[in-house]
């Protein structure tokens, strides 16, 4: 082991002094720059990215919103309060108020924090589990591969939405002592990640299997690199493109899944609001207010559409077969 490592050092030493003089003439374009350049030319992706950044930014600064999410506006007239609470948009309430005279605009922003946090956290955790499982299965093969991939098949065999509803309903029976918002977000992210890691695992395994026979991996092996190094330095970075594309498209799916279970009453529950639970609240008031229904759903729709556009752009930008066209 020790000899092979020093061998590789010996090989690399003479090459380094010659490099600077040679490099100066070549205008180097990094991988990221190439990808960004291709991404930039995808108009819908740029619009999506802009929209997504706007939504994320606005939701992040929700604490600066004019009203606290659960504050009831007592300055409304008796007449407005009696009209099912749905006050029309005004200078004080940009989007009006909901049925309990809470500011809709501020509530929408706070709800956005929950929905976006769930989407991105779930993808982060799900992709991590998926990369871990897929890497082990693809690299070591054999019985480990069989066990892990049968496990993935097992999770894939659950009907997604019914299982999601059942597990969420079961977890709703527990009373935790911690902050209710944190508990709800954690459980939803946990359940979604539990049911959403399989596609990444399969993707990573497939990538690993094709990459394992490539020359640079065989060279790394010949130089004595151990499994961990080959996976972390060679295989995972080279598998990142499809993982990123799948993950970016998954964010939208998870945001919809969260809003779906909240809409069905087993996700985020009052007083915390997510876009889905707001829609669930307003379902009974469909008759009285159109704007209340349009806003949270529109927020989900626009965000998910923006994410899908970005994912689409990323796919085009990262696909090496389309390069140099």
């Amino acid at each position: 082991m020790a000899t092979t490592v020093s061998d590789s050092n010996v090989l690399s030493v003479p090459a380094s002094p010659a490099q600077p003089t040679f490099e100066k003439k070549v205008k180097a374009t990094g991988e990221a720059a190439i990808v960004w350049d291709r991404f930039r030319r995808h108009h819908f992706a740029m619009i999506g990215l802009g929209t997504l950044l706007f939504v994320v930014l606005v939701s992040t600064f929700a604490p600066l919103a004019p009203w606290s999410p659960n504050a009831i506006d007592r300055s409304l007239t008796d007449q407005q309060v009696m009209a099912h609470g749905f006050a029309p948009p005004s200078a004080a309430h940009w989007f009006g108020t909901d049925e309990l005279n809470r500011d809709l605009f501020s509530r929408l922003l706070w709800a956005g924090r929950i929905s976006l946090a769930v989407g991105f956290l779930t993808v982060g955790i799900g992709a991590t589990i998926g990369i871990f499982v897929g890497a082990l299965a693809g690299f070591y093969g054999g019985w480990l591969d069989t066990v892990l991939m049968r496990g993935a098949d097992l999770f894939l065999s659950f009907p997604f939405l019914p299982t999601l509803i059942l597990i969420s309903a079961m977890l709703h029976q527990y009373k935790f002592s911690a902050d209710v918002t944190v508990v709800q977000v954690t459980t939803i992210v946990g359940v979604l990640a539990l049911l959403g890691w399989m596609d990444t695992a399969r993707l990573v395994r497939g990538q690993f299997l094709t990459l394992l026979n490539r020359d640079f991996v065989i060279a790394a092996r010949a130089l004595g690199a151990d499994g961990r190094r080959i996976m972390l330095v060679h295989l995972i970075p080279n598998s990142m493109a499809p993982i990123i594309v799948a993950a970016s498209l998954n964010v939208g799916g998870f945001i919809i899944a969260e809003s779906a279970i909240s809409f069905l009453g087993v996700g985020v529950s009052p007083p915390t609001a997510s876009w889905g639970s707001m829609l669930a609240d307003f379902q009974s008031y469909l008759r009285y207010s159109a704007i209340a229904v349009l806003l949270p759903g529109g927020a989900i729709f626009i965000t998910v559409m923006a994410i899908n556009f970005v994912g689409d752009g990323l796919r085009d930008a990262l696909d090496p077969w389309l390069r140099n066209r």
Partner: protein, 308 residues
């Protein structure tokens, strides 16, 4: 396959039984009933006093005999078979009409898009499919309900028939239209894209060139040669869509008050009626397996190149 099914049922059963207490705890506490023996009696009657593995084996034994158990809370003592039996036809009707509707629309949209690739119509359809994939089904349902049901009053706001008109076929169709459209949106968006690329791929094949070289009209080339071959992969796509169609039915039924399996699942979950909930999931899983099997068989019939 068999092992996966067994493990899946063990996992799901186990997870549901992780819930603390039984379905009656909260109800009895809320009613301030001081008699502790009553709760024990209820739990004994539904078999909750047995250990988990025994309850699982009982349940599996019953399921293998075609008996999904007894309801705990929704209709205490009624068999799950009866409850599901009364709901299943409604869901099957919604899903089959939704499936046929999406298939027809997707075929038309996909064919036009492929034949007129990159035209204005094609781009419009592309935009529409992006729209259909991104829009949350339940929000689309609420909008349709608000606009066509409550504002324009063109369609009823829910249910499967007007009271007193349950044998009127037109009345039932009238109630079916909105839920069917809502259920179909996602499928139309996905399948039309799929058919478009499949058809474009087929139109590049040599036998299409041959057919054109023979002097056959473009219409015949399209429908006799290209269309049938492009349809083959669609069979699998449709089979795969069955679970997601059922997922969509959960929202559609909730929004349009459609007394089917999806609404039953939500009701059972709200009432902590695990046998009913497990029954719905089991039937769904069974239908999914059945759909995949039918797809496999259909594949062999449609495509003579495949032999087993």
């Amino acid at each position: 396959m068999g092992i996966t099914l067994v493990l899946a049922s063990v996992l799901l059963f186990g997870i549901l039984n992780l819930a603390p207490g039984g379905p009656f705890d909260a109800r009895i506490a809320a009613a301030h009933i001081q008699d502790p023996g009553y709760l024990d009696r209820l739990n004994h009657l539904i078999g909750l006093d047995k250990p988990v593995h025994e309850r699982y084996l009982d349940w599996v034994g019953n399921v293998l005999h075609g008996n999904l158990g007894e309801s705990w809370t929704m209709a205490r003592g009624q068999t799950v078979n009866t409850i599901i039996g009364s709901r299943l036809p409604n869901t099957v009707m919604l899903m089959t009409t939704g499936l046929l509707f999406s298939l027809v629309i997707a075929l038309v949209v996909g064919t036009i898009s492929a034949v007129r690739q990159y035209s204005l119509t094609d781009n419009l359809f592309t935009a529409f499919s992006f729209f259909g994939i991104s829009i949350p089904a339940f929000w689309f349902g609420l909008i349709m309900l608000k606009f066509f049901g409550l504002e324009l009053k063109l369609f009823p706001v829910g249910g499967i028939y007007t009271v007193g008109h349950q044998d009127d076929l037109l009345d039932r169709l009238w109630h079916l239209i909105l839920p069917m459209i809502v259920l179909s949106l996602l499928q139309v968006a996905q399948w039309s894209r799929f058919l478009r690329s499949s058809l474009l791929e087929t139109l590049r094949q040599d036998y299409i060139r041959t057919a054109r070289a023979k002097g056959q009209t473009e219409r015949l080339v399209l429908f006799r040669h290209a269309f049938r071959n492009a349809m083959i992969p669609l069979v699998t796509v449709i089979a795969i869509a069955i679970p997601s169609l059922f997922g969509g039915a959960i929202f559609t039924e909730t929004i349009f008050n459609w007394p089917g399996m999806g609404q039953l699942l939500i009701g059972a979950v709200g009432a902590l009626d695990w046998p009913v909930a497990m029954g719905v999931v089991t039937i769904t899983a069974g239908l999914t397996i059945l759909a995949n099997f039918i797809a496999d068989v259909a594949y062999v019939i449609i495509d003579p190149r495949i032999r087993y």
